[in-house]
C-alpha cells in the first residue's frame, strides 16, 4: 500500500457519518468471503446516508449508480467523527469494495479507524481543519502523503493533513496480519495476504 499520491474524484459528506449510513444493518448478512456476495457490499455502500446529505453541497447524488457495484468516486471527504456507531468491519470493507481509495475526515470514531487500518481496507486520513465545505462532490482531488497535503484540483486550494503517526507501520504493511508477520509475531506460512 505504500504509495505517495492518491488521486481521484471526491464524494463529500458532512459530520458524524455513522456505520449504519455507510452500510445499513440489513445488508450485513452477505458473506464477505464469497466474491459474488462481497460485491453487494459495494452496491449498498453509503446507501444509508440521507438524501439531502448524499454528495454535498447539493445532495441527492448517489454514491453508487443504479445497477452498479462500484462508485464513480474515489475519495470520501467527510467532517468530524467519521464512522461512529457500530463495530462492523463491513463499513470500511464496503468502501473498499466500492472502490474507495482513501477517506479524509477531521476526526474518526476509533473502531472505524482501527478497522480501516488493521483490515487494510481504506486509508483513513485526518485533515487538520474541518474541510468538507471546501470540496464539492465530483471535484478532482490530489492527496500527497509525502507532504501531508490534500489539494482540491478543481479550485486549486490545498489543505494540511495530519501525519499517519503510529498507524503508518500497519498501514504500510497492508494491515494487522501483514504487520504481525513482518515483525515476526505470527508465522509466515498460513494465509497469503491479499
Amino acid at each position: 500500500m505504500s504509495q505517495n499520491k492518491i488521486t481521484g474524484r471526491a464524494y463529500v459528506v458532512g459530520d458524524n457519518i455513522d456505520t449504519d449510513q455507510i452500510i445499513p444493518a440489513k445488508h450485513l448478512v452477505y458473506n464477505t468471503h464469497s466474491p459474488e456476495e462481497r460485491k453487494l457490499y459495494g452496491k449498498f455502500a453509503m446507501s444509508g446516508v440521507p438524501e439531502e446529505k448524499s454528495g454535498l453541497p447539493k445532495g441527492g447524488i448517489k454514491f453508487i449508480r443504479e445497477g452498479e457495484y462500484q462508485s464513480e468516486f474515489d475519495i470520501i471527504v467527510g467532517g468530524k467523527n467519521f464512522g461512529c456507531g457500530s463495530s462492523r468491519e463491513h463499513a470500511p470493507l464496503a468502501l473498499q469494495v466500492a472502490g474507495v481509495k482513501a477517506v479524509v475526515a477531521q476526526t474518526y470514531a476509533r473502531i472505524f479507524y482501527r478497522n480501516s487500518v488493521d483490515g487494510g481496507f481504506v486509508m483513513p486520513l485526518e485533515s487538520v481543519d474541518n474541510i468538507y465545505e471546501s470540496f464539492s462532490t465530483g471535484d478532482q482531488v490530489e492527496i500527497d502523503l509525502a507532504s501531508n497535503q490534500i489539494k482540491n484540483v478543481s479550485t486549486g486550494k490545498s489543505f494540511e493533513l495530519r501525519p499517519l503517526g503510529d498507524a503508518a507501520d500497519i498501514i504500510n504493511a497492508g494491515g494487522l496480519f501483514a504487520y504481525a508477520r513482518k515483525i515476526g509475531m505470527i508465522s509466515q506460512k498460513a494465509g497469503a495476504n491479499v
Binding site: 444493518a25 448478512v29 463495530s87
Partner: protein, 432 residues
C-alpha cells in the same frame, strides 16, 4: 504518578509495571466474545490467516452468542448461525448459546454478565461496539472489528492504545423518576457524540454506586455514543456480590491509585436532574422530556442491551401497571433470563408479563430485535415514517429500519409514560 483503573488493567495485561495514555501496548485477552453478525466474518479471516485447520488460542476464553438476527425468515441471517455452529464444533468451544436450544440467551452484552464472563480487573474484547457495557464490572472492555478479533482468536493478544480517562462524578441521591439512561444522556448532551473519542469514561460518585448492576451497565453501554473507548466503574460490594454469584473463576479487582491522573473531570448533582430525551437523529440532541411534551409518537419500543434488562421492565411496569398503552408498544427482553424475569417478577400480585399484556403491549422474544433494524420482518422494526420513542442507544438515521422514521431515545420510565400518553411524557406525571 499513579494510574487509573483502565491504565492499571492494561499495564497488568501487557506485563508492565506502568503504562501512560497514548502508548501502544500488546495486551493478553481474558475473553473474546462474538455474535452472529460479526462472527462469520471473523472466523473467515481466522481461517484464511492461520489456516483451515488452525486451532484457536484458548477455547475456554471464546464466547459465541448469536443474538442479532434470530427471529427472521431471512436465509442469509440463518446461514450465519449455521456458520457459527460449524466453527464452534470444529474448535470444541463450549461457551456457545445456540439458537433454538435451551442454551439460547439473547443479547450478548446482557448474557455475558449473566453467565459470569464479566469479571473485575479483566480484559474483554467483543466484535460489537457495545462491548463497553462490561466496564460496569470494573474491567477493560471494548468493541473491535473482525480482523482484530481474528487476530485474537489465533494469538490471544491485541494492540491497544492506552486511553486517557475522563471522569464523571454523580453525587447526591437519585430521585426515583430518574434512571441511569438519564445520566448518560446528560453527559452525551454535554460533551457531544465525539466528546470522549479514544478516552476511557469513568463513572463515579455516590449516585453511581447506589445504582444496581444493570443500571451501571446502562451507563457504560452508551460510552460508545460519546466516542468513548471503554466505560469503567470501580468495583464495589455490589459488583463482587453479582459476579461471585455467577462464576467460580478467581479475579483481581482493581481500583484507581489515589494519585491517578484524569484528563477531565465533571461533577453532577443527581438530585437536581430531570428525565431527558435524545431527539432524532443523534444521541447528543438532548432535551428534557418536559420540553418535548407536544411530540406525538406512533410507537414505543422497550428493549435492547441498553433498555431491555429486568430493571428496565420493572421500571416500565411501575407506570404501565393498571394503565393502557395509547400507542403500539413493543416489549423485547434482552435475554431469556430477562424474559423469565418478566414472568417471575410480580407487582401487586401481577407478573410484569401480565401487566404489559393487560396494557396492550406486544411482547417479543429475547434478541436484539429492532434495535438495529435488521431484516424487514424483524419484530418492532420501523418500516415507514413512524415516530418512535425507544429505550435503545442509537437514533441515527435508519438505525431502527426505515431512513424515514424518527427515533427518540429515553429511559424505560419515560418510555412507559409516553406509551400511556401517546406524546412524549415526563414520568413524573405518573410517579407520585
Amino acid at each position: 504518578m499513579g494510574m487509573t483503573i483502565t491504565e492499571k488493567i492494561l499495564a497488568g495485561h501487557s506485563g508492565r509495571d506502568k503504562v501512560v495514555p497514548g502508548e501502544n501496548v500488546w495486551v493478553n485477552v481474558d475473553i473474546l466474545m462474538t455474535h452472529d453478525v460479526t462472527g462469520p466474518g471473523t472466523i473467515s479471516i481466522f481461517r484464511k490467516e492461520f489456516g483451515e485447520d488452525a486451532r484457536i488460542w484458548d477455547r475456554d476464553k471464546v464466547v459465541v452468542i448469536p443474538d442479532h438476527y434470530i427471529y427472521t425468515a431471512d436465509q442469509h441471517a440463518q446461514r450465519n448461525v449455521v456458520f457459527l455452529r460449524d466453527f464452534v464444533k470444529q474448535q470444541q468451544i463450549d461457551n456457545f448459546y445456540d439458537v433454538g436450544t435451551p442454551d439460547y440467551k439473547g443479547v450478548c452484552h446482557v448474557a455475558l454478565p449473566e453467565e459470569g464472563y464479566t469479571r473485575p480487573g479483566e480484559v474483554l474484547f467483543g466484535t460489537d461496539s457495545h462491548t463497553c457495557t462490561a466496564g460496569a464490572f470494573g474491567e477493560f472492555a471494548t468493541g473491535i472489528g473482525n480482523t482484530d478479533a481474528a487476530f485474537i482468536l489465533g494469538t490471544g493478544k491485541l494492540w491497544v492504545k492506552v486511553p486517557q480517562t475522563m471522569r464523571f462524578v454523580f453525587d447526591g441521591e437519585m430521585p426515583d423518576y430518574l434512571m441511569a439512561k438519564d445520566l448518560i444522556l446528560r453527559i452525551i448532551g454535554d460533551i457531544g457524540v465525539d466528546g470522549a473519542s479514544y478516552a476511557a469514561m469513568e463513572f463515579a460518585g455516590d449516585a453511581v454506586h447506589s445504582l444496581n448492576i444493570e443500571e451501571r451497565m446502562t451507563l457504560c453501554n452508551m460510552v460508545i455514543e460519546a466516542g468513548g473507548k471503554n466505560g469503567i466503574i470501580s468495583p464495589d460490594e455490589e459488583t463482587l456480590k453479582y459476579v461471585k454469584a455467577r462464576t467460580n473463576k478467581p479475579f483481581d479487582p482493581v481500583q484507581n491509585d489515589s494519585d491517578a491522573r484524569f484528563a477531565f473531570e465533571k461533577k453532577y448533582d443527581a438530585a437536581k436532574m430531570v428525565p431527558l430525551v435524545a431527539k432524532p437523529h443523534s444521541p447528543e440532541n438532548v432535551d428534557t422530556a418536559e420540553n418535548l411534551s407536544d411530540v406525538k409518537v406512533d410507537r414505543v419500543y422497550i428493549g435492547s442491551c441498553t433498555g431491555g434488562k429486568l430493571t428496565d421492565f420493572k421500571a416500565a411496569a411501575r407506570i404501565l401497571n393498571g394503565r393502557k398503552a395509547a400507542v403500539d408498544t413493543f416489549i423485547v427482553p434482552a435475554t431469556t433470563d430477562v424474559a423469565k424475569g418478566l414472568r417471575d417478577t410480580k407487582i401487586d400480585g401481577k407478573s410484569l408479563h401480565q401487566i404489559f399484556e393487560e396494557a396492550g403491549c406486544r411482547i417479543g422474544n429475547a434478541s436484539c430485535g429492532a434495535c438495529l433494524g435488521g431484516p424487514d420482518d424483524t419484530f418492532g422494526r420501523l418500516n415507514g415514517e413512524e415516530v418512535c420513542l425507544s429505550t435503545t442507544n442509537r437514533n441515527f438515521p435508519g438505525r431502527m429500519g426505515s431512513k424515514k422514521s424518527q427515533v427518540y431515545l429515553a429511559s424505560p420510565l419515560t418510555a412507559a409514560a409516553t406509551a400511556v400518553n401517546g406524546t412524549i411524557t415526563d414520568p413524573r406525571k405518573y410517579i407520585a
